[in-house]
């Protein structure tokens, strides 16, 4: 396997982690919204921000892969 291939696998692994993280955020946000529909807006915006933070981790992985590729 070439270095590019390994980098791609690394990016994929980072994406798995972020996927799990964003999934958890999304699930909890949905649950929270179902429990307190009046807090809908606030929960949504904080869930988006948190998802952005988690996503950044996966993107760092992608960028490292780009550095190799």
């Amino acid at each position: 396997m070439t270095i590019t291939g390994i980098a791609a696998v690394g990016a994929g692994l980072a994406a798995i982690g972020a996927g799990v993280g964003i999934g958890k955020i999304g699930g909890s946000a949905m649950e929270a919204m179902a429990r307190q529909p009046e807090m809908h807006g606030k929960i949504q915006s904080s869930a988006l921000i948190l998802a952005a933070f988690v996503e950044a981790v996966a993107l760092f992985g992608v960028v490292v892969a780009f550095l190799q590729g």
Binding site: L48, I49, A52, F53, L59, F60
Partner: protein, 394 residues
């Protein structure tokens, strides 16, 4: 290169469809559906025609999706819109030529990008000001003395040519950036004039369209993140980056412009993230610096341990801003183009409806992403400003 037209054509028509669907959701009825189905059929026929073309000429020039995608995602000197009669005698290109401005040892040199004649493999040599310029993968190189042709090393980098000192060319991305700020000026200056003309400050026309967005940035981004007392100082910056990023994200999705991928270019996001970083650093108060260098409320060994982490964090914040926007937008473009490439990779018309449907789906998602990414960049900038200006409250 051969396939650029097909791609831009397909995606363009779909974007038109998409726009129609989005702008008039209440009229997303049977007729729209019918329209979409017809477009898919129509496009399948067209794709077939071009796919055959690719097959015929495919002996010497094998389709490389990676190269095609990278050329779309990266910057370019001219604004190439379409190629007519590809591979034939009377091949014609529809392009908007843009100025190439390079600063070298011999001073400033300017020429039109049309001088390269759409070549980006380093074949066309342009002589200006006693220097010979070539375009290697949309990067201007200066041929060394005595060299008559570009030679490449194993990784495809030129060995007998060097980059100019400064390359200040008005590239595709710069051009689209100017178009976007012209649009922004048009929208917001018109809106501002509407307010000035009405004496009771009631919005009308375009002002009633932009006001909710502006109020959204103020009430959902600036106020909760920065705080009631200080948010006013940051409002102009937050509003400007929000709309600047959003409109450039949208422009990146318009296929006729060959997807000028400005907000998916690291230079663009780097600049904006750097400005956010500078503003954060300069508006940091005593409390902010104390939290970085000597975290209050934790034991001394912990303070020492936290200091380097906080210092790294200070830089990671803007870097993550930069990478998030760049990677999200670039990823969207790559996925759409990759789906389109499937037709030419498999060289069959059967795959066309699938790839068209999927890229339509991804394009719809991307339309949402344009707004979400602009929102996230803005809200995180606001969050960092809020952290920098937060008062002590222990």
């Amino acid at each position: 290169m051969k396939l650029l037209l097909v791609n831009s054509f397909n995606v363009r028509t779909f974007a038109a469809n998409l726009k129609e669907g989005i702008l008039k959701p209440q009229r997303m009825t049977l007729s729209t559906l019918k329209h979409t189905v017809f477009t898919v059929l129509f496009l399948s026929v067209f794709s077939f025609g071009f796919a055959k073309d690719a097959k015929e000429g495919g002996e010497d020039e094998k389709f490389d999706p990676k190269e095609m995608i990278l050329h779309h995602v990266k910057d370019a000197y001219g604004m190439h819109i379409a190629t007519l009669n590809q591979g034939e005698e009377n091949e014609a290109h529809i392009t908007i030529p843009l100025p190439v401005i390079v600063y070298t040892d011999k001073g400033l040199t300017t020429f039109s990008s049309s001088a390269f004649h759409h070549d980006y493999h380093g074949h066309e040599i342009v002589e200006r000001n006693g220097q010979r310029f070539v375009n290697v993968h949309e990067k201007v190189y200066i041929l060394d003395e005595g060299a008559s042709e570009v030679a490449y090393d194993a990784e495809g980098h030129p060995t007998n040519a060097h980059r100019p000192k400064f390359d200040l060319s008005i590239t595709r991305n710069v051009f689209m950036m100017w178009v976007s700020i012209a649009v922004l000026f048009l929208i917001f200056l018109t809106a501002a004039r509407r307010y000035k003309r009405s004496d009771d400050n009631v919005p009308s026309g375009i002002a009633s369209f932009v006001e909710p967005l502006i109020v959204f940035v103020r009430d959902e981004i600036a106020r909760p993140m920065i705080g009631e007392h200080k948010y006013k100082r940051y409002m102009p910056y937050l509003l400007t980056i929000f709309f600047f990023i959003w409109i450039n994200n949208i422009f990146g999705l318009i296929p006729i412009l060959n997807g000028a991928n400005l907000s998916g270019n690291i230079a663009f996001t780097f600049t904006l993230a750097t400005i956010t970083f500078i503003i954060t650093t300069f508006s940091g108060n005593k409390n902010y610096w104390k939290h970085i260098f000597w975290m209050p409320g934790v034991p001394v060994p912990m303070k020492i341990f936290l200091m380097p982490i906080e210092i790294i964090g200070m830089f990671v914040k803007p870097i993550s801003l930069m990478i998030r926007l760049f990677a999200n937008i670039t990823a969207g473009h790559v996925i759409i183009l990759a789906l389109m490439s499937l037709i030419f990779v498999f060289k069959t018309v059967a795959i066309a409806p699938v790839s068209v449907a999927f890229s339509l789906f991804i394009t719809v998602i991307e339309v949402i992403v344009t707004a979400i990414q602009a929102y996230i960049f803005t809200i995180l900038s606001a969050l960092y400003f809020g952290m920098a200006t937060e008062e002590e409250h222990h």
